[in-house]
Each structure stands twice: as structure tokens, then as C-alpha cells.
């Protein structure tokens, strides 16, 4: 193995990437994803966490109350979110259809301690973002009433749950999403892109029949493969680093950024070597990419199902929760890299011999 040869091959690949401006597309792609994830943050997480939706507007929704008196009416009247009107059911629903109201509640005269349940009928509008917000606000009211009823009927319960008082917390809704999903996803994406790239780089030499020219140079076949792996590997921490920097600029504090990059660099090398092996075996892009992407899904799913996996390590590093076991995970990954690296090297040497004799 000659370091200079490796860097020549890696440089050649970088030149190709820059020349074709494909690297631009890759960056554009990631930017696009970032844009969408910011959309995700607001849109999706507000669905996960409806309380952030209701902060949306400080508006008293007009609701109608029909049927018999109950504590629900008091709760609604006291709530800052609602303006309640006592109405008959039919005109109330008609007014709802005209959007003069946001919801109609009908409460029957069931006594609190009846054998059967109290059934409240709630009329809301279909397909409406507003009724989603109203539902969220009404839910609190209904939950309060449910607590009251449970207390009345408490003596009928066989077993009481262990009481834990949890203070209502506001905010923090994006935290789990950002650290537990977005950051591992964004940081890991360059690894997936690079592993697909290495397949293209290797199969291209075969399908464009440039491999013979390359082999006739002093560079050995194994060096060619390693040079390509090197080029792809170098791209990963750079892109992941830019991601982390961007997130930090957006006031998302990330701890242990250096360790995260180390983790990503090692883990991505596993994927890239897997890609290189697949490409060496098939020497044809369609088959190699198909097999590799299927294998990738299997591997990633399997790894995610294991506790203490490298992706989880990214999350824990980012929130500053990784203990000494991180070195164990990293060590396992390094061993995997060494084994795969050895297999790739032998395979490449063997293939190189075949090419020379042929």
C-alpha cells in the first residue's frame, strides 16, 4: 500500500465530483432536507404535542352547551379558551355548520354515581385545523370532569394506581424530536450517501471499461479500491460537521460534537466498506445498488433494535448522557471496521490478481 497512490486516486475522485458539480446536488439535497425538517419541527411536532398548537392563538372559541347542567358547564365558563352559550341542540349544530361556533357539547342528565357511564356528545367540524385546536382545549375540560367522576365512583374500584403528581410542563416539546430523531438522522445521512457513492465509483470503472487503463498504471487494484473508500470516507465527517455547526447556529446546543463526529466517521466506514464489497462482487451498478440498499435497510433496522447502538450513541452524546460504555460501542465498531477492512483488502487483492492474469 502506497500512501501517495491512495491520495492520487482519492484526488481523482474528488476532481470528478467537483467537475460534475454533483457534490453541489448532494449539498442542495441536504439543505432541502434541512428546510423540510424545520417544517417538520413546527408542523409535525405541533401535532405530536398539541399544547404547542393551542398557544397558536389567544382566542376564545365560541362553543354551545346543550342538554342538562353539569360541572362541565362550570369548567367551560371558567376556561379562558372558551365563550360558552346555553343553546338548544338543533340550532346550535346549525350554527356550527355555518361556522358561527367552534363546537357543540351535549351533556345528558346521567347522575354522577350512575352504574353506567356518562356519555357526552361532541359535535365538531370535519377536516379543520381549528377543530383540532378546539379538541385539544376541550380535552382538558373533559379530563377534569373525568377526574371528578372517578373520585365519586372511587369506592367501586378494586385497585388504585400508585399516585404520582407530575407538574404540567410547558415547552420542551421539540426536545425529544430534535435530539432523538433529527440529529442522528441528519448526522448519519452523509454516511448513507457516501456508501452509495462508493458503489458508483467502483462499478463505473467496470462498466465504462476504464479499469484496464487504471490497472496498467503502477497503482495496484487494492490501492484503487482503498483510494475510493478514502475519498468517500473523508466526505462524511465534513458534511456531518457542517450539520452540527448549522444546528448550533440555530441555537440547538450540542454537546460532545467531536465525539459525535468520531462515532459517525467510524460507523460510516462500516457502511462504505460494505458498499465497496458489494460493488467488487457485482461489478454492475443496478445489481450492486439493489442488493446494497436492501442490505442497508436490514443492517440499520437490526442495529436500531440493539440497545446501545451507534445511532443511539449520537443521541446520548448530543444530550451529554453518554457514559464510559461509549468506548465499548466505539471499540466494537472499530473491530467491525478492521474485519471488514481485512476482507475488503483480501477481496481486492484477489480481484486484482485476476485482472492481471486476464
Amino acid at each position: 500500500m502506497n500512501g501517495r497512490h491512495l491520495s492520487i486516486i482519492a484526488k481523482k475522485e474528488f476532481r470528478g465530483l467537483v467537475n460534475e458539480r454533483t457534490i453541489l446536488l448532494a449539498i442542495l439535497l441536504q439543505l432541502f432536507l434541512a428546510m423540510f425538517s424545520s417544517f417538520l419541527m413546527v408542523g409535525l411536532t405541533s401535532m405530536y404535542d398539541p399544547s404547542s398548537l393551542s398557544q397558536y392563538s389567544h382566542f376564545r372559541y365560541r362553543v354551545a352547551y346543550a342538554g342538562n347542567d353539569s360541572p362541565v358547564l362550570d369548567y367551560l365558563e371558567k376556561s379562558p379558551d372558551f365563550r360558552v352559550y346555553r343553546m338548544d341542540l338543533s340550532p346550535a349544530v346549525a350554527a356550527l355548520q355555518e361556522r358561527q361556533l367552534a363546537a357543540v357539547i351535549y351533556v345528558p342528565g346521567t347522575p354522577p354515581d350512575a352504574a353506567g357511564p356518562v356519555k357526552i356528545t361532541l359535535y365538531t367540524l370535519t377536516n379543520d385545523i381549528q377543530s383540532a385546536i378546539v379538541d385539544v382545549n376541550l380535552k382538558d375540560t373533559f379530563l377534569a370532569y373525568e377526574r371528578d367522576l372517578r373520585q365519586v365512583r372511587e369506592y367501586r374500584l378494586d385497585e388504585q394506581p400508585i399516585p404520582v403528581q407530575i407538574p404540567a410542563s410547558t415547552g420542551g416539546g421539540f426536545f425529544e424530536f430534535v435530539y432523538g430523531l433529527l440529529i442522528p438522522l441528519l448526522v448519519f445521512m452523509p454516511a448513507i450517501i457516501s456508501s452509495a457513492l462508493v458503489i458508483d465509483l467502483i462499478t463505473e470503472e467496470y462498466q465504462h471499461e476504464t479499469i484496464e487503463t487504471l490497472i496498467s498504471t503502477p497503482v495496484t487494484f487494492a490501492e484503487i479500491v482503498w483510494g475510493k473508500v478514502l475519498a468517500c470516507e473523508l466526505l462524511v465527517p465534513v458534511q456531518a460537521g457542517v450539520w452540527l455547526a448549522l444546528l448550533m447556529v440555530n441555537r440547538i446546543p450540542i454537546e460532545n460534537a467531536g465525539l459525535i463526529l468520531l462515532d459517525v466517521a467510524v460507523t460510516s466506514l462500516i457502511l462504505i466498506l460494505l458498499g465497496a464489497l458489494t460493488a467488487l462482487h457485482y461489478r454492475e451498478r443496478t445489481a450492486a445498488q439493489f442488493i446494497f440498499s436492501t442490505a442497508l435497510v436490514v443492517v440499520i433496522l437490526f442495529v436500531l433494535a440493539l440497545p446501545e447502538n451507534p445511532l443511539n450513541l449520537i443521541t446520548r452524546l448530543a444530550v451529554g448522557m453518554a457514559g464510559t460504555d461509549q468506548w465499548l460501542i466505539l471499540g466494537t465498531a472499530v473491530i467491525a471496521v478492521l474485519v471488514l477492512g481485512y476482507v475488503t483488502h483480501r477481496y481486492a487483492e484477489k480481484t486484482g490478481l485476476e485482472h492481471h492474469t486476464a
Binding site: E98, F142, I166, G172, R316
Partner: protein, 603 residues
């Protein structure tokens, strides 16, 4: 008749070729991987996804309380005595002592409290569902009746207020007729055991894996519209995410094969044989695409059958399949190398998946979700009916764009285009140039403008989806700028292409005529498509930004003309480098125009 025979022959060749490539040793490994995938999926279902393990530190002084939360792997639970808990409070995100939880005041602490709350609720639900007297544990049931409003989402943009001023003390009086609503029965028509089963089922859905499978076989239907208060929440988008992947992934894979097959014809001029056949290019393309089309449709049909869903969900998928194939064809024809192919196709599939997926998140919440055909699938699976208009509304753009893309591919499926080694953008321009006739440049420009409309709308829709969740003034401003930029770009492309081919084309007479042809074409296309499909969005505030030009005719025509004219002049004087400057100027003027109209409209 001859064409059909040609197509059949080429389709047969295509199948034979791909089978020979595949069968070597791809198929056995693919089968092994597939079996592994099933095993791994089972493993994941059992062990769960461990992405968020150990995010929070939880300190507890009561082993019984600790037992509630140890099953949630997000918490690392520490059990110690009260005194040391209080002494090391800062080391924990949450501590629970004496049955009271305290969170640290950080974002992480707040988030941990929320997770704790959710876990506790599911614990109490677990206890309550085992109660002998279910109605003591769940004394309150909500029967949610959805009422269809006569007014549409026109009035409720983005959570804007519907009702009139809230200050009115008097109850609202319905303006129209009042239909008598029967007084709801105070009893639930289900036994305790039926309700208990449903509660157990819905609480088991908290595991992310089981939730995927629940949607696909419509659950909870037996319980009708009854919910306990804690179940009353906006529908989670998780299900549509999974749906998208179940249906889109196989389509994406298959279109990759098609893309590669096209690309392979171009490597080392292997496709010359095919081109030398006495067969029309369109027949070659259709013949090559046919096996993949049939494959994709049968995959979808198989999935539908497997999920025991209504076969009607194939209808919205067909335009999506065409769209994927058309794009695969063009990408295969355009890219120079495998790297380029990979990046362009990954880019395309990300954008397309976002376009398909993000709107469908809002399937139950907002009408805007209908711009994605996948929403129709979500609706079908839920058992909600949709109309022919809905179908047209959500699929028209897919049909139109695929047709245009196939046409562009067909006219360019020739030697000098396929085997050229130019860069991506010049190649794109050449492809476009091929569709423009030399003898009738103005007619071509007119048609190009007309047919660019579906693409413009598609991109604008994507922007609409992107921006619609930003706070109100920003979303509107961004939308105004992007809408203008996209329109100006689409209009300028034709003139630019002609100019690059032959700079002398832009004599003053030619320039004015070209601009007029483009402007008229753009206006005609816009109005045509609008009237067919998009009336729902056009009436909203956002719609008024995108499709302002419905009002008076001469004003939009003038602004369309002015836009291209600026760009054309910039080209004439600045050459190719003037293009960007001209585009910026045209966009700015377009924005100003839009702003004045909107301000006049609203204020």
C-alpha cells in the same frame, strides 16, 4: 397496429435482459436478504427501536414508583434515598420523591416531565382497564360527531379564526335553516367487555411498531366514535409516514431499475442497435417502460391485497407511478455518470416523497392535504369517501407533468442526445431546445409556456406546503417571493434556450413577439388548469398569492409580458450572464405587483 407489435417486442427484450442481469447471483441473495428483513422486522417488533435510550436521568426514592418507569428505555432510573436525591438534584432531569415529581428547569427537564406524564398515563390506563367495574375507572365517554361545514377551508387558513367577533354576548343565530338533531341517547350501545377490549387494543398501540400495523387494518371501527377523554387528540401523523414508505418504496426501487436500464443503453453506446431499428422512439420508450409499469401496478395491487384494503387505492397510485417512470426516464437520459445518476435520483425521490408525504400528514386536519394523492389512500384506509373532483384535484398535476416529461423524452431519444457528454444543465437546455420548433418558434414558445404551468404549480404547491406552517407574515412574504421567482424562471426558460441557440433570434421584433407568445401561453395555461382543478386553493389567502391573475385579464397579461421582456432585454444586452440579473429584476417587479394586488385585496 404495427406500433403495438413493436412495443410488445421491445418489452419482451427488456424483460429478458433484466432477468439475465438479475438471475446471475442477485436473486438468491435478494431472497436471503428478504428473509433476513422479515426476521429483523420481527426482532424489532419484539425489542423495539432503541434510538432514544437513556436520554434522561430519573431519580426515584420509592421502588414501587421506579417500577412504573423502568420499562421506558428513555429513562435511566436511579433508586436512592430521599436525602441524596435532594442533595444531587442537579444531576437528574427529573426526581420523584414522596409521590411528587420535580423537573429541572431546562428544556431537557421539561421534555422529560412530558415523557414522564405520558408514561404515567399509560400506566394508570393499564391499571384502570383491568378494573371489574369499567365504568368506575372510565366514567366519561365522548361521542365525537363530525359535522360537515358548508363553508370550506377558505375561511380558516392556518388556524385563523372562523367565528365573528367574540365579544358578542348573545348566542349566535343560525342564518340558514335548522334541521332537527335528535337528542343523543344517554347510553353507549356496547358492553363493558367490548369497550375494555378496545381500550386494551388502543393502549397497546403506543409501541411504535404495532401502531404501523394498526392503521392498515382499520381498527376501532367496532367501537364507533366513542372515546375516553384522554383519547381525544388530533390524529397522529405516524400512520401516514408508514403508509408512504409501504407504497412509495417499492415504486422507487422499480423506477431505479428502469432508470438504470436507460442509462445502460447509453454506456459505451450500447443502445445504438436499438436506435437503428425501424421503430419510432416513442415505441422504444413505451416498450422499455411497460414491464416496469406492469411490475409497479402489480406490486401495488399485491400490497393492497395483503393489507386487505379497498382496491380503489390503486387509482390514486397510478398517476404517481407514471410520474416516477417519466422522471426515471429523463434522469436516465440526462446523467453522465453513475454518481450523477445517484445524486439526481436521490434528490428527485426526496423532493417527490416530500411532496407526496408532507401534505398527507394533515389528512384529517386540513383540506390542503388533498394536493397529495397519498391523502386519498389515507382517506380510503380510514373509510372516508372521496369524490371524482377530489381525485382530479390531487392527481391532475401528476398526470399532466408525466405526459409532458414523456413527450420531452420521446423527442430527445436520439443518438446525438443520448451519447452526448455535456454537463447536466446544457443537456437540459438541449432537451428543451429539441421541443422547440425552428420554423414556428412563437407557437413553440406559446406551447412551452402552456405546458410549463403544471410544473410551476407543482413547485409552488411544494412551497405552499413548506411555508404554510411558518408564522403568518413570513410565510406570506416567502411565498410571494418564491411564487414570483418560479413563474419568472419558467417563462424565461424558453426565451433563454432560443437565445443560446441563436443570439440573432432576439431582434427587437423577435424579442417582443417571443415575449408576447410566452406571456399569452402562460396566462392561457394558468387559467385552463385553474378552472379544471384548483378552485379550492385559489380562494384562500395563500391561493390569492399563487394565482392572482384570475381577476382582470389585461393586468396579469401585462405583468407576464413585462417579466419575460425584462429577462429578454437583459439577455440581449448582457448576454448569458445578464440572465440572472434579469431574472432578479423580473422577480422583484412581479413581487411588487403581487403585493399591491394583495394589499389592495385585503386592506
Amino acid at each position: 397496429m404495427g406500433a403495438i407489435k413493436d412495443i410488445a417486442t421491445i418489452a419482451r427484450w427488456e424483460v429478458k435482459k433484466s432477468v439475465s442481469v438479475m438471475s446471475r447471483d442477485v436473486l438468491p441473495i435478494a431472497v436471503v436478504l428478504f428473509v433476513l428483513l422479515i426476521i429483523v422486522t420481527g426482532f424489532v417488533a419484539q425489542s423495539g427501536l432503541h434510538l432514544q435510550d437513556g436520554m434522561y436521568r430519573l431519580g426515584v426514592d420509592d421502588p414501587k414508583v421506579a417500577g412504573i418507569f423502568t420499562s421506558d428505555t428513555r429513562f435511566t432510573v436511579y433508586e436512592t434515598d430521599t436525602a441524596s436525591l435532594l442533595a444531587n438534584r442537579d444531576a437528574f432531569d427529573v426526581i420523584i420523591t414522596g409521590g411528587q415529581a420535580y423537573g429541572s428547569p431546562t428544556e431537557k427537564g421539561k421534555s422529560a416531565l412530558q415523557t414522564l406524564q405520558r408514561d404515567y398515563t399509560s400506566y394508570t390506563n393499564g391499571v384502570y382497564t383491568k378494573e371489574g367495574d369499567l365504568f368506575a375507572a372510565y366514567p366519561l365517554w365522548i361521542d365525537v360527531q363530525n359535522v360537515k361545514s358548508e363553508l370550506d377551508f377558505v375561511s380558516t387558513q392556518n388556524g385563523q379564526l372562523v367565528s365573528s367577533a367574540p365579544s358578542a354576548a348573545a348566542p349566535p343565530e343560525p342564518q340558514g335553516g335548522v334541521t332537527t338533531i335528535p337528542t343523543p341517547s344517554p347510553t353507549i350501545g356496547f358492553t363493558q367487555e367490548q369497550l375494555r377490549q378496545e381500550l386494551v387494543k388502543s393502549s397497546s398501540q403506543t409501541s411504535p411498531i404495532s401502531r404501523y400495523t394498526q392503521v392498515l387494518t382499520p381498527a376501532g371501527a367496532s367501537m364507533g366514535s366513542f372515546e375516553t377523554p384522554s383519547q381525544l387528540s388530533p390524529p397522529l401523523p405516524f400512520d401516514s409516514i408508514i403508509l408512504v414508505f409501504v407504497f412509495i418504496f417499492p415504486l422507487y426501487f422499480t423506477s431505479q431499475f428502469f432508470m438504470m436500464s436507460i442509462m445502460n443503453e447509453r454506456i459505451e453506446r450500447k443502445g445504438e442497435v436499438l436506435l437503428s431499428l425501424p421503430v419510432r422512439a416513442s415505441s422504444i420508450i413505451i416498450g422499455k417502460a411497460l414491464p416496469y409499469l406492469l411490475g409497479m401496478v402489480s406490486i401495488c395491487a399485491g400490497l393492497t391485497f395483503y393489507l386487505r384494503a379497498s382496491p380503489i387505492i390503486i387509482l390514486p397510485l397510478i398517476p404517481v407511478i407514471f410520474f416516477f417512470l417519466a422522471n426515471a426516464l429523463l434522469i436516465g437520459m440526462l446523467s453522465r455518470s453513475f454518481k450523477e445518476l445517484s445524486f439526481v435520483s436521490i434528490f428527485f425521490s426526496t423532493v417527490a416523497t416530500s411532496y407526496l408525504f408532507f401534505p398527507s400528514i394533515f389528512a384529517n386536519v386540513h383540506v390542503i392535504s388533498l394536493i397529495s394523492p397519498l391523502t386519498l389512500i389515507v382517506l380510503t384506509l380510514q373509510g372516508t369517501a372521496w369524490t371524482v373532483t377530489d381525485y382530479l384535484y390531487s392527481t391532475a398535476l401528476f398526470w399532466l407533468t408525466s405526459a409532458v416529461l414523456f413527450y420531452i423524452a420521446a423527442v430527445n431519444f436520439r443518438e446525438e442526445r443520448l451519447f452526448s457528454e455535456k454537463r447536466l444543465l446544457p443537456r437540459l437546455r438541449e432537451f428543451l431546445a429539441e421541443t422547440l420548433s425552428r420554423r414556428h418558434p412563437y407557437v413553440s414558445l406559446f406551447l412551452l409556456a402552456v405546458f410549463s404551468i403544471p410544473f410551476v404549480f407543482m413547485v409552488q404547491m411544494l412551497c405552499l406546503v413548506l411555508f404554510f406552517n411558518l408564522p403568518m407574515p413570513y410565510s406570506l412574504v416567502l411565498l410571494i417571493v418564491f411564487a414570483a421567482l418560479i413563474e419568472e424562471l419558467a417563462k424565461a426558460v424558453g426565451v433563454y434556450t432560443l437565445f443560446v441557440q441563436d443570439p440573432s433570434f432576439l431582434s427587437w421584433k423577435g424579442l417582443v413577439a417571443a415575449c408576447a407568445a410566452t406571456a399569452i401561453g402562460f396566462l392561457a395555461g394558468e387559467k385552463l388548469l385553474l378552472f379544471v382543478t384548483l378552485s379550492q386553493i385559489t380562494q384562500s389567502v395563500f391561493g390569492s398569492v399563487l394565482f392572482l391573475s384570475l381577476g382582470v385579464l389585461w393586468m396579469p397579461l401585462a405583468i407576464h409580458f413585462a417579466g419575460v421582456f425584462i429577462v429578454a432585454c437583459a439577455l440581449k444586452y448582457g448576454g448569458r450572464r445578464g440572465f440572472v440579473a434579469g431574472l432578479a429584476a423580473a422577480t422583484a417587479i412581479h413581487c411588487l405587483y403581487n403585493l399591491t394586488i394583495i394589499l389592495g385585496w385585503i386592506g
